[in-house]
């Protein structure tokens, strides 16, 4: 049953992504893809209780290494956003693409939130995969977050 759900979600995500994007985002079960009303995002999905995924596709110009962009994101979030860098992980998608995941924490009105930014870099494009929500939700949906990153697909 669970496998079927995951498979269906994957198929739906694949089908809906056929509109000019150079990637296919995997939308886990219990999440719905949201029409992109925001210029910043090329893909967004949310759970009913407030955990959100997003993908940004950015032209890789000027060129920099994945380590460079990871550091740039880290500095931006820590120094200007006040986010705590909790962990940095190397990830690999099912497709075999290497990425870097930065895990940040941030309090808002006394509630701890988690924000994961996963970075994939190709010659032409930088892909930023984001996942965020309250710490409680992120921990509750940890498997789905990992699954979404694992099944991120670059065409």
């Amino acid at each position: 049953m669970r496998f079927n759900q995951l498979f269906c979600a994957f198929v739906v995500a694949t089908a809906t992504a056929a509109c000019g994007q150079s990637f296919t985002a995997a939308t886990p079960p219990e999440f719905v893809e949201i029409e992109n009303d925001y210029d910043d995002f090329d893909y967004r999905a949310a759970s009913a209780d407030g955990l959100v995924f997003a993908v940004r596709e950015i032209e890789h110009d000027p060129e920099g290494s994945r380590a460079f962009w990871a550091r740039a994101i880290e500095n931006r979030m820590r120094d200007q956003g006040g986010y705590a860098l909790i962990d940095t992980k190397d990830v690999k998608t099912a497709q075999g693409i290497d990425g870097t995941q930065l895990r940040f924490g941030h309090d808002e009105e006394g509630r701890p939130h988690l924000y994961y930014v996963t970075l994939f870099v190709t010659d032409d494009t930088i892909y930023i995969h984001e996942a965020g929500g309250t710490k409680e939700l992120m921990e509750q949906h940890a498997a789905q977050v990992d699954w979404a990153v694992k099944h991120f697909w670059i065409k």
Partner: protein, 327 residues
Amino acid sequence: MVSFYAKYLKKPALGRSGRLPLVAVMLCALLAMACGAAGQSKGGDYATSPAEPGAYPQSAGAVDGDYDDSEAEMMEGTVSADYRSEPSPAPARATTRDIAKKVEISGGSSGAPPPAPPPPPQQQPARAKSKPTEESPTSATAASSTDRRKVTPLLVYKAHLNVAVFETEKSIDKVERLAREAGGYLVRRDDTVIVVRIPTKKYHDALETIAKIGDVIHREVSVQDVTEQFYDMQTRLKNLRAVRDRFEQLLGKAKNVEEALAVQRELERVTTEMERLEGRLKVLRELIAFSTITVEFAPRSSDKIDPKFRLPFGWLSSLGLSRLLEL
């Protein structure tokens, strides 16, 4: 003070009543005090005699303000209210300020007004009532003014850490617990800032441990060498004690009420100044023995998250009795 005696000497009744020897003795005592202070000090400003004409009117007002700033800089977070508000007797005010000026010169720069005094730590020994000259701060227990060059420098450590805002309350709890376990104490705590004081011996270890509690974005560590300041104050206190003893002797020899009152006034002034110096020494000793660590959980610019999560479906927003019952 010298102007006070000059005024006193000019009184016609002085010579007639035969008080000149007494006043001469008092003058000698004062000169001895001035010489002692000048001899112990290193800087040229220290040696400036308070009796120099024109010195008081120019410096008194300015020094008063500088003095407060100096105190604030030196005694951040620990200065006692009694000490700060202690009034000086009017006749001796200029002299008191002059002493304050000397301390300020060795003390350094101006600073922000100090916050409210912290509650005294339970772990601290009862230093408050002991004689300042009989005890010394941590690293220079047996040191005296004569061998100050041999002693370990007396340093005041302060650290300020900006930590990313994540699980703030939990992290603040950890910092407070760490301070208490290290023998320190809490100075101030609110939603985003905690200030603790930790025994200087454990300062570096504590700082490293605190840095691991959260993600430190910015760290500022300062060290102030107060060795000279500390021993200068001790020397001044010693000299004031000698002067007080002489005044007490003179008080016993006073021949009439007028003389007794004059000596009494000076005695009060010297005593007040001694108490002031003792208070400052106590605070300085405290600052040396305990290092201050401030941990601030605050971003330089905030990234606001709307606490109410809203799915971007218009029809969801239209649900509810208010719409349903709207006819």
